[in-house]
């Protein structure tokens, strides 16, 4: 059974990854290069893309698009295994569980770390060394999983009394984190060479593209599962008819 989940998860990852790879090719890469150039390229001690780069622009574009596919495959596989193991504990019925888990994934892998390290546009100047940031990022993913578990626990506790009460209780831990974490966190990166509007637009696209990736993963996964179930029930009907 877990094999089927994993297969579907990786297949959903390939589907979502192709879409995300195209996004990287047509939006992510050109936009990142534009922002890089707008920030002055090789100022601030880190040159990337543009003229001062180690690798040609086309290589960066191809590798970044491929990385997008790999990223989705990784998330799809992890999503499917987590869904197999945690399905009984997730709220909702049938396909809803998959979308809840995708929400948990988006919140834990992306949103919680972003509350401390907002997505940085190219050309950002960082306050902390990379090792510190990676360690804190991973810690925040764990915090995100914990918050999601708390939210689901609260929902399941109060939902039997009233669904609205459950939703309210479930959203409380998430709302608190979204409000409190950015206030407590020190500013991790600044964009001295970029207009604030451009940084905001870049961040908005990052948030939307990751949310879309998770939604696509869950959508493709549930669609593949329905097809497989449809085939199976069609096959058993056929078998039953041929036995008549």
């Amino acid at each position: 059974m877990i094999h089927e989940y994993f297969q579907r998860g990786v297949a959903a990852g390939v589907i979502a990854g192709l879409a995300y790879g195209l996004y990287m090719m047509f939006v992510g890469n050109p936009l990142s290069e534009y922002v890089e150039a707008a920030a002055g390229g090789h100022e601030g001690g880190h040159a990337h893309g543009g003229a001062g780069s180690l690798v040609p622009e086309t290589t960066t574009a191809a590798v970044s698009a491929t990385s997008g596919v790999l990223w989705a495959v990784l998330l799809g596989g992890a999503f499917a295994v987590a869904l197999y193991l945690l399905e009984p504990a997730l709220p909702g019925r049938g396909d809803v569980k998959a979308y809840v888990l995708a929400g948990v994934g988006f919140f834990s892998v992306s949103v919680t770390p972003w509350l401390v390290f907002p997505p940085a546009a190219p050309g950002a100047v960082y306050q902390y060394p990379i090792d510190t940031r990676i360690a804190v990022y991973l810690g925040l993913v764990v915090v995100g999983v914990g918050l999601s578990a708390a939210a689901i626990g609260a929902y399941k506790r109060f939902a039997p009394r009233h669904v609205g009460l459950g939703v309210l209780a479930g959203s409380a831990p998430i709302l608190v984190a979204v409000v409190v974490l950015p206030v407590l966190a020190p500013t991790a990166a600044t964009h001295p060479d970029l207009p604030a509007d451009l940084v905001a637009a870049y961040r908005g696209l990052v948030v939307l593209s990751q949310a879309a990736l998770w939604l696509l993963l869950a959508g493709a996964f549930t669609r593949l599962r329905r097809w497989a179930d449809g085939d199976r029930s069609a096959a058993s009907t056929e078998k039953a008819l041929s036995n008549l």
Partner: protein, 61 residues
């Protein structure tokens, strides 16, 4: 597998269906992808995945 499974049932089922070698191989693959995409700071690899890291909002440099 059925609708009345608990989470621990699912862990038991998975343990029955998978060998340790399969679990280890799966984890190793995942770790390899994570490492290559997110942690590899070697300048050439880093430069090539640079746009991706920014566009996906994961920490870069």
């Amino acid at each position: 597998m059925n609708a009345n499974d608990t989470v621990s049932d699912r862990f038991e089922l998975a343990r029955g269906e998978l060998t340790m070698a399969q679990i280890a191989a799966g984890l190793a693959f995942g770790a390899a992808i994570v490492f290559a995409l997110l942690f590899l700071q070697e300048p050439l690899a880093h430069d090539a995945t640079h746009s991706f890291r920014h566009a996906a909002g994961v920490v870069c440099h």
